[in-house]
């Protein structure tokens, strides 16, 4: 109970917001985008923060899920849920196949390779217009329904996205605290040392890569049915970089850090109208300043300082029972 306390509070908050303000634009419309970005950032962070494998192509997998769902449902009339599963399986197979050669690479080689994969997939979306609709994209994509009830309206979509996001956050928290999570942390620390203690590093990295791309694909499918429209613009290299910014802003390897990063960076442009012209500039500045001065991320640094402060106060009141520090 205590381990997942933060998660339960978060779940109540997310669902409660939706129930209390079902008609509020910022909660159910902007909120749905926030939730979508939380899913993407959390899944990317498992790869970047926990396994230490940088990816500059995450948006492409999000896009693959979206496009495969769009194509299967509009051109072949397949049930959206079945299409979603097919997209996820396709993405899993593709990412499994490319994970072998890609995850052998390190540092900037890995950055270049993931970037290359992302750009190739994006170019395909733009150029293969007989399949993808080209730069204009595809429209009239059907919505989703559960047990015969069509999901309609912002509130219903918000709740669906929220439930999926909570599942992903819950899964991520559990992965981090599991045997696999500790293996990941070991791989991040030193791959050779991890091999020495008997961890099959290639397998661990492959698993987490496939898992994180499948999550991105699933949220891509949800996104495309909610929007009823898809175009390549949503899945460019720049969006991949934006996702990396969210992860980094919150803090590598911190699940709630990614939640924090996604919330802040999705809401900022909404609330600051003047932000529009400066958006690119501010993104760049945030990325640089955080990485130079707070390489652990804003959320993680704040949390550490608060815990430290609480502990000091507690220690001052009752020196006989110093409480152990909480990390994670």
């Amino acid at each position: 109970m205590k381990r997942l306390l933060g998660f339960y509070i978060f779940a109540v908050l997310v669902l409660g917001l939706g129930l209390l303000f079902p008609d509020d634009y910022y909660v159910t419309v902007v909120g749905t985008t926030v939730i979508q970005n939380i899913v993407l950032a959390v899944s990317l962070n498992l790869l970047m923060g926990n396994a230490g494998q940088i990816s500059l192509g995450h948006a492409a997998f999000f896009g693959m899920g979206a496009y495969i769902s769009a194509i299967l449902t509009t051109r072949f009339g397949i049930n959206p849920w079945a299409a979603m599963v097919v997209s996820a399986i396709t993405v899993a197979v593709i990412s499994y196949l490319i994970s072998k050669p890609i995850l052998r690479l390190k540092g900037h080689y890995l950055a270049m390779a993931t970037l290359g994969v992302g750009i190739i997939i994006h170019i395909f979306m733009v150029q293969a217009d007989s399949i993808t609709g080209g730069p204009d994209g595809m429209s009239d994509i059907p919505g989703l329904s559960i047990l015969g009830h069509a999901i309609e309206g912002d509130f219903a979509w918000y709740m669906l996205f929220a439930l999926f996001m909570l599942f992903v956050v819950w899964a991520a928290l559990n992965i981090v605290d599991s045997r696999a999570g500790r293996a990941l942390a070991a791989v991040h620390g030193s791959e050779i040392a991890a091999q020495m203690v008997g961890i099959d590093t290639a397998r661990v990295k492959t698993h987490i890569f496939v898992f994180s791309t499948v999550i991105a694909s699933l949220v891509g499918s949800l996104f495309v049915h909610q929007q009823a429209f898809v175009s390549p613009e949503s899945f460019s290299f720049f969006f991949s970089v934006e996702l990396v910014t969210m992860v980094v802003l919150g803090g590598l390897a911190s699940v709630f850090g990614s939640v924090f990063g996604a919330v802040i960076l999705t809401l900022l442009p909404e609330f600051l109208l003047v932000f529009e012209d400066y958006e690119v500039l501010i993104y760049g500045a945030i990325l640089m300043i955080i990485m130079i001065f707070l390489p652990d991320g804003l959320f993680v640094t704040m949390k550490r300082n608060i815990l430290h402060w609480l502990q000091k106060r507690k220690g001052a009141e009752n020196t006989e029972h110093p409480s152990p520090g909480m990390e994670g």
């Binding site: 970047m48 390190k106 080689y109 970037l115 150029q127 500039l281 640089m288």
Partner: protein, 290 residues
């Protein structure tokens, strides 16, 4: 065959630009172990500044020199304000810092010049020169010639001058270099300035052929990175060869396969190189230190 010649001319022209960008990458990589994702932005800033100044009525040569100087200063600022502050950062961290720098510079360019595309006047007219049935613009010759001169100057600088050798010494071993009295910080600053200057030259040379906007640096930078990997990261001869090769392959691919997939072809080549020969065409295979 004539078509082939025409594509070859295009390829060598574009390849020259990639070669300059790749050479800039290599200088920074050797000096500081940083892969500078903002390299393409140096190209864009050089080109845009020159275009802006010559548009304001400044003579072409003067605008070009000023643009290079401005870019050199920006390169040095990047080193001083960002890279130096994050000296002990991991590879992933420095990658993200330079990506941040590239976004920041792009954002600044967007504020200054908007989203429009601008061209620069050709250095010496637009009268095409015929070679058989293929044609070549005077500007293509400027690009190829300018690149050749720049590459030779860089080679001379590193092989024959004390300053160049001092920078090389830093790239081999910073501590040993500082022990023999080399000001390592200063050398890093010069390396970043030199690399930025090369990028600016590339931008100014190519601006009359391809129109430039605040976003033009992204692809050029990434292609330069591809070229550097193709040639073998850290190898300056390899970087130049890689740039030319990539330019030619891309032009042939665009001409004979599909122009829409031109960029995809480059990245596909790079993936193949990374998968099968990560040390590049001219690099030596290395082993990882624990």
């Amino acid at each position: 065959m004539d078509q082939f010649l025409q594509f070859l001319i295009t390829g060598i022209t574009v390849g020259s630009i990639y070669a300059l960008v790749a050479l800039g990458f290599t200088i920074i990589y050797n000096a500081s172990d940083v892969v500078n994702f903002a390299q393409g932005e140096f190209v864009m800033i050089g080109a845009m500044t020159a275009i802006y100044l010559s548009g304001k009525g400044m003579p072409l040569i003067l605008s070009a020199v000023t643009a290079v100087a401005v870019t050199v200063v920006i390169g040095m600022l990047l080193e001083k304000l960002a890279i130096e502050k994050a000296r002990n950062a991991t590879v992933v961290t420095t990658i993200i810092i330079t990506i941040g720098a590239s976004i920041l510079l792009r954002g600044a360019a967007l504020l200054l010049w908007g989203k429009d595309y601008y061209g620069l006047e050709a250095f010496s007219g637009e009268e095409p020169i015929h070679i058989g049935t293929a044609t070549i613009l005077p500007q293509n010759l400027w690009v190829i010639g300018g690149t050749a001169i720049a590459v030779l100057c860089v080679k001379f600088f590193f092989d024959r001058t004390m300053l160049g050798k001092a920078i090389l010494a830093c790239s081999f071993n910073k501590r040993a270099a500082s022990l023999v009295g080399i000001n390592v910080r200063m050398m890093l600053l010069i390396a970043y300035g030199l690399s930025a200057g090369l990028g600016a030259c590339a931008g100014i040379l190519i601006a009359p052929i391809t129109f430039m906007s605040y976003q033009s640096g992204v692809m050029l930078g990434l292609k330069g990175f591809c070229a550097a990997i193709l040639g073998g990261m850290g190898n300056s001869t390899g970087a130049v060869a890689g740039g030319l090769l990539l330019g030619i392959l891309e032009a042939l691919g665009a001409g004979f396969i599909s122009s829409g997939y031109k960029d995809a072809i480059s990245f596909f080549i790079i993936l193949l190189v990374l998968f099968f020969r990560p040390s590049g065409l001219f690099g030596k295979a290395g082993t990882e230190r624990v």
